[in-house]
């Protein structure tokens, strides 16, 4: 039975995620033996080890799971909505909007902490994606091609403004370049709490769009014949991508590659059915991100390599190996 096999695969992926989660809590620059970790996990005994586990590693791991799930899901959505396998969640300008807002916040509002960036980044992401959507649908409903081009145009213009601001203010650039790499370091529970509701809302909305996206996969007309509403699906898809990717970028900075590559891997495993691609993307992406975060903490310990950097170095070779081997399922 296909469904049983796919559900089994999803369970395996979820188990892998749990494993990586535990690994992430155990591994770090301070060596804490696993038995101690396990006991502190359930009974917070107020020791410094417990503080590290509960205040640093666990929130960070949870955040990595949320951010990864959001990016993977947003990427799958974006590729489904635009029917373009090269689409990534940043296409609507979400990453660029967040970056522009953060740059302005650093340069003109004097914001210096990661938690301070969060609201600015999310606001910037939301405003820009609305703008892109409006340009993409000027005159009539947005089609995939228009959204793609509108996103590219706005991203280019806004990116130019961002770097103009930063190059005129080297101190701001100095701060910005650490954020723009994409990292989970220093993110604590307050960041997690702020972005979690948006990501949760985005997840719910995205999963509801699975059926309409399936219907629209062969074109708008075929989709309408099957009862899907093309315009409404696209708007809701854009809203979901903004919620997911905007919140993820607000929390961890712009992390590329995950949203683009993971949906392809998901499709290699389960084919083009969005009802499976979306959940698989949602579970596989955090495995990548969390795994990358762990590797980043280990590989040049006690210093840390940012997750945004490691993700590409860990994920890309795996992705490339898969592309060589598997039959590439069409969208």
């Amino acid at each position: 039975m296909v469904i049983a096999r796919r559900a089994g695969g999803l369970a395996v992926a979820a188990a892998a995620l749990l494993l990586v989660f535990l690994l992430s809590v155990w591994v770090g620059s301070k060596q804490i033996p696993f038995t101690a970790v396990w006991s502190v996990l359930w009974h917070d005994d107020g020791s410094s080890d417990a503080a590290i586990i509960h205040e640093l590693r666990i929130p960070r791991a949870f955040l990595a799971v949320l951010v990864g799930a959001a990016l993977g899901l947003a990427g799958a959505l974006m590729q489904g909505v635009t029917r373009n396998p090269l689409a990534d969640p940043g296409l609507l300008g979400v990453n660029v909007g967040a970056a522009a807002a953060v740059a302005l916040a650093i340069a003109y509002a004097g914001v210096t902490s990661v938690i301070g960036y969060v609201w600015f980044a999310f606001l910037g992401a939301a405003v820009v994606s609305v703008l892109v959507y409006l340009i993409g649908s000027a005159g009539r409903a947005a089609t995939p091609e228009r959204l793609v081009l509108a996103g590219a145009a706005v991203s280019a213009a806004l990116g130019a403004v961002t770097y103009a601001v930063l190059l005129l203010d080297p101190e701001a650039f100095n701060q910005f370049r650490y954020w723009v790499v994409g990292s989970l370091a220093g993110r604590r529970e307050d960041t997690l709490v702020r972005v979690a509701p948006f990501i949760a809302a985005g997840i719910v909305l995205a999963l509801l769009l699975a059926r309409p996206l399936n219907a629209l996969a062969l074109g708008d007309d075929a989709g309408r014949a099957l009862g899907a509403h093309a315009g409404r699906t696209r708007v809701l898809g854009a809203v979901a991508v903004t919620l997911l990717c905007g919140a993820a970028t607000a929390a961890a900075g712009p992390i590329g590659f995950v949203g683009l590559a993971v949906p392809h891997v998901a499709r290699m495993i389960v084919g083009p059915d969005q009802r499976w691609v979306l959940p698989y993307s949602m579970v596989l992406a955090p495995v990548l991100l969390l795994g990358a975060d762990v590797v980043g903490r280990v590989v040049i310990a006690p210093a840390e390599l940012q997750a945004g950097v490691v993700t590409a170095f860990v994920g890309a070779p795996v992705f490339i190996a898969l592309c060589r081997r598997r039959k590439l399922a069409r969208l």
């Binding site: 373009n84 396998p85 090269l86 689409a87 340009i135 993409g136 649908s137 000027a138 005159g139 009539r140 091609e145 228009r146 793609v148 081009l149 509108a150 590219a152 145009a153 706005v154 991203s155 280019a156 213009a157 806004l158 990116g159 130019a160 403004v161 770097y163 103009a164 190059l167 005129l168 080297p170 650039f173 100095n174 370049r177 650490y178 723009v180 790499v181 994409g182 590329g256 590659f257 683009l260 590559a261 392809h264 390599l305 940012q306 945004g308 950097v309 490691v310 993700t311 590409a312 170095f313 994920g315 890309a316 070779p317 992705f319 490339i320 592309c323 060589r324 590439l328």
Partner: protein, 331 residues
């Protein structure tokens, strides 16, 4: 071969506009030089002061801008038509990022000068091409597989670049970032000569094989039936596109948006089905020279990199074109 009148008209208009921008660039600035004096200097009869400004400073910069813009426009048009995807530009597929990574490695790790940086860029771009083909080649060369593997490699290069910039000293980081945005500052005849040579070799090749692009776009089987040597034509065109992009990047940095936007703008101006290669090249040249003029005059004396203006102008203009086109379609 019949060329539609509108295409010819648009090409002539673009060339005239570029010439106009060139004239303004040569005559205005910190040392205004009347147009007649410019022509005299070109003819070899100017005064030493005028000669220096016109022949040593302005002309090579203008020529670099024209050639780089033309090369990028043509390169982008080829990649977009071959991949059938408006996102299929050399930037997305990884060659530009490979060039960028090569150059940044030279700038930040080896403290290289202009020539070493250019060599690093070319090595990076062509190395990426070799890597992509080496990894992607199986019994047949599937287009989608090639693109996806290129994207994977591109992500690794971007991560490497971001990491090196985050790790470097502030001055080095700013220098690397400026190079990455693309700049025409300080370009001299030493930059123009290799660029002109490369274009003189590549462009006739491109124009010859480019005539078969329209047939390739109809599908491999149709093209073969029409007598087009599909694999060879596609291979040569991709190689030429990457070489053009690498050479342009070596001269001025990865001015990314030109390769993506110029073909799209050209297509809308000429209202022809595919992005005409010449029109795309001319649009790229105009975009880059106009952008350089803008950056030099508007923010004087701070020398902002031209890539900012190119992205800003190109992005805004593309957005306007999109809105305008769709509103008209509605009416």
């Amino acid at each position: 071969m019949r060329i539609p009148a509108r295409v010819v008209a648009v090409c002539v208009a673009l060339a005239l506009a570029a010439a106009g921008v060139g004239a303004v660039t040569m005559t205005t600035g910190d040392y205004p030089v009347p147009l007649l004096d410019v022509l005299e200097a070109v003819a070899g009869r100017g005064s030493p002061g005028t000669d220096f400004v016109v022949l040593t400073l302005r002309m090579p910069r203008l020529l670099t801008g024209v050639l780089v813009g033309f090369g990028l426009g043509v390169s982008g048009a080829i990649m977009q038509r071959l991949s059938g995807n408006s996102l299929g530009s050399p930037d997305v597929i990884g060659f530009t990022n490979g060039s960028a990574a090569g150059a940044v490695v030279v700038i930040l790790l080896f403290d290289g000068g202009m020539y070493q940086v250019a060599a690093g860029a070319v090595a990076g771009g062509l190395g990426t091409l070799a890597l992509v083909y080496g990894v992607a080649f199986r019994r047949t060369l599937s287009g989608m597989r090639l693109i996806l593997i290129g994207i994977g490699l591109s992500a690794m290069f971007v991560a490497l670049t971001n990491y090196l910039i985050a790790r470097a000293s502030l001055d080095d980081a700013v220098a690397a970032q400026v190079w990455l945005i693309g700049s025409l500052n300080g370009r001299r005849w030493d930059h123009v000569r290799p660029l002109a040579l490369a274009l003189a070799v590549l462009l006739p090749l491109v124009l010859h094989y480019g005539r078969k692009l329209a047939m390739l776009e109809m599908g491999d089987d149709t093209a073969r039936a029409l007598g087009v040597p599909v694999a060879r034509t596609r291979g040569i065109l991709v190689l030429a596109a990457v070489a053009l992009s690498a050479v342009a990047t070596a001269a001025a940095g990865p001015i990314a948006f030109v390769a993506l936007a110029a073909p799209q703008v050209a297509r809308r101006l000429t209202r022809s089905a595919g992005a005409g290669l010449t029109a795309a090249g001319l649009t790229g040249a105009l975009l880059l020279t106009a952008g350089d003029l803008a950056t030099q005059r508007i923010f004087a004396p701070t020398p902002l990199p031209v890539g900012l203006a190119t992205s800003a102008i190109g992005g805004v203009y593309l957005a306007w074109l999109l809105v305008h086109e769709w509103r008209r379609a509605r009416a």
